[in-house]
Amino acid sequence: MGGLARRATVIKDVKRQGENALILDAGNSLFQGKGSPSPQERKKAGLIAAAYGHMGYQAVNVGSDDLSAGIEFLREIQRDSHVPFLSANLLGQKGGKPVFKSHWVLNIGGIRVGVFGLTSDLRHGKGPAPEGYFISDPIAAAKRAASQLAKDCDIIVALGNLVSFKEYTRMVQAVEGVHFILGSGGKGSYHHTIRSKDGWKTGLFQAYAKGQFLGRIDLNVIKGNRDFVDLSPKDQLRRQISRIERQLDSYRTGTGYAESIPQDKRQDLIKRLEEFKERSEAHLERLERDSRGKSSFIGTRIPLDNRVREDLGIKEMVDRFKTGS
């Protein structure tokens, strides 16, 4: 599963289909964060940044693990790869200016998307920021970035590196106006809508680690409508309903699997399936009703398994790195 070359293929395919795509990395992409990286690991990080440049990444968050080789190293590979690194709370000194851009506004298909980055101040218990630098409170930084972006953006995306679900929930309670958080720092996968006490909804997404999946969110944006409805269960419900219909057909006609089931038991199963179908249809109807006139999104994860072919250009870069040429 995974691999840079497979990821590049999916990104290329989406772009080729003419989608208005925004390619983002939520952080911890360069190092594993296990101590000081070897010269070979540094070279590999350089290769990753260069590959991101080729793939057309539009923003990369600086995660705490990405700081393993120091700030100067990050600056250097950013310069070479031309990929914008973001962090709103990695500062030159306490109370100083951000080392990298804190946020970035992109106009995609007429929609202004504001993206900001956050670096975890927890550093997984590995101590403070690299010497001479300071990581300020990410939630306070998120508040500042979101209020700045709210003025002229239709959608605000946070590239978070906040490690735990608890921290993301704390962020949503404290910071309104962020539509989506793409997270990093934890081991799992998220697809949740977190509601603030005041009713603001933020979608939290994170794909599994090690690049085995590429996260995808398809948005249908109604300009001026900032209330997003998650339509991800819609496809699942439709598939569920057609599966129930097939089963019902089989029980009613007594064919296939249902042939061996006694008539009275079949009647009982039919009744239960009909109730289940009714409930599923009501759920689908409710979803469609709730989304009418509102912006919506569907979130999925694309498995980068061996059915995804490798992009030749990126594969060549990886092979060259491995052979040292």
Binding site: G2, G27, E41, Y208, K210, L219, N220, K223
Partner: protein, 67 residues
Amino acid sequence: MGFEGRWRGIKAITTGMKTSRGEPTMRRMALLILVFGFLFLHGRVETAELTFLYSNDTGGVIDPCPT
């Protein structure tokens, strides 16, 4: 309004559209188009489709992981 009246009305409008002598009708038509055009554009719901592709925690991995 009877059939004849309606026919006269239609004739008047089409005549107005075709000849320069029917200028007042043309002006009214142009005004109507403008009003409807404004209402159409103003009331239109602007939508856009967007796709976010994102990665996270790839941790220096460049090759497929055996799973």
